[in-house]
């Protein structure tokens, strides 16, 4: 039996600790009302999951999650929070029961679905046997780049990545269309500051 016995005990311990931390942070986010605390905790959530990605051998993903999730998203959420409000309204106890029931039902169905999933770390699982292995085998001959993730991202699936870059560019355009370029409103901000208002 492959699976858990093959895995290092230390890795298993790290998994448990990091997942526990993720649970604590997620529950705190769900219960908090101060938006500032929520935004900061979401950055911490990203950072902990980045650590977990390292334990799962996904170093590129960990790097991205740490830079994007904990860096840029937190900055953007803070910027949006400055422009909107600082606290969230408390949820009504009477209406909170419906989402809870929906969430429990969905969770039970998903857990039922995991019974058929391959074991954690199984090298013979369908996801790990066909195309992923082929990329590992062929990268040295085809691309000649040691980092297989870069090879797949930039070469084998370059068209895919072109689409992702297009999505990021389109999102920047959408934000600019919604909020303005930034310079014009900036001059208004500076004008306000001269009059003694806050920027």
């Amino acid at each position: 039996m492959t699976g858990y016995e093959g895995a290092d005990l230390a890795i298993a311990l790290i998994n448990v600790i990091l997942l526990g931390l993720l649970f604590v942070v997620a529950i705190a986010i769900a219960r908090m009302r101060s938006l500032f605390a929520i935004v900061m905790l979401s950055g911490i959530y990203s950072l902990i999951s980045a650590t977990w990605f390292v334990a799962l051998d996904a170093v590129d993903v960990a790097f991205t999650e740490a830079a994007v999730g904990a860096g840029i998203s937190t900055a953007l959420l803070l910027g949006a929070m400055l422009l909107t409000s600082r606290t969230a309204k408390p949820e009504k106890r009477s209406t909170a029961i419906v989402p809870l029931l929906v969430v429990i039902a969905v969770g039970c169905m998903l857990v039922y679905a995991t019974i058929d999933l391959p074991a954690f770390g199984d090298p013979d699982s369908p996801a790990n046997t066909y195309v992923g292995t082929a990329y590992i085998e062929r990268t040295p001959q085809d691309i000649g780049v040691p980092n297989i993730v870069t090879a797949v991202l930039a070469s084998y699936r370059g068209f895919d990545t072109l689409g992702e870059v297009g999505v990021v560019f389109a999102a920047a355009l959408a934000v600019i269309l919604l909020l303005g370029f930034g310079e014009r409103s900036l001059s208004a901000t500076i004008g306000r500051k001269d009059k003694g208002g806050r920027g």
């Binding site: 969430v103 992923g132 590992i136 040691p146």
Partner: protein
């Protein structure tokens, strides 16, 4: 039985996290809190994909040691220096069934890594668009609580209806 649970405990924990995100998305009325819930949900799905791509005894999908020297055109030394720690050596036998194809080391499946890497970047782009819309909602309505916005819309609609149909009773 215990083994079955241990092999799938990760998935269940991730589903739990996913459901906490979904609950935040559902129950919160504050739009920014909803977006944070959405990003928890998204991060949990990324965690799920990455945990599917892990292979026991495997290492990060960067060729090193003999694997990189054999074909990489002399570029392997840097990678070998960066990843010199031979973490995979001892446990490599465990996974020889599927993942060894003339390679010295066992590597995790790189495909989910690539997909999730781009998903994270696209996720932050869509989050930015969502936040921009929230900022505009705040400027138009003066609030970012979903139920207050709904009440305001309802009031406006009722006033409009009363204007269009004078003399009729309130439809509500």
């Amino acid at each position: 039985m215990l083994e079955f649970i241990l092999e799938r405990g990760n998935y269940w924990a991730i589903i739990g996290l996913m459901m906490i995100g979904l609950y935040t998305l559902f129950a919160a009325t504050n739009l920014i809190k909803r977006l944070v819930g959405l990003s928890i949900f998204q991060t949990s799905i990324i965690l799920f994909y990455i945990s599917l791509s892990r292979i026991d005894g495997g290492t990060a999908p960067i060729l090193y040691g003999k694997d990189a020297k054999g074909h990489g055109g002399g570029h392997g030394e840097e990678a070998a220096a960066a990843y010199g720690a031979d973490a995979a050596h001892g446990a490599a036998d465990a996974a020889h069934g599927a993942a060894s194809h003339g390679f010295e080391h066992v590597y995790s499946n790189p495909l989910p890594h690539v997909l999730m890497l781009t998903a994270i970047v696209v996720g932050v782009a869509t989050l930015a668009v969502g936040l921009a819309i929230v900022v505009r909602i705040r400027e138009a309505y003066g609030t970012i609580e979903a139920d207050e916005i709904r009440d305001m819309d309802l009031d406006v609609a009722l006033a409009q209806y009363a204007e269009d149909h004078p003399g009729e009773a309130n439809p509500a």
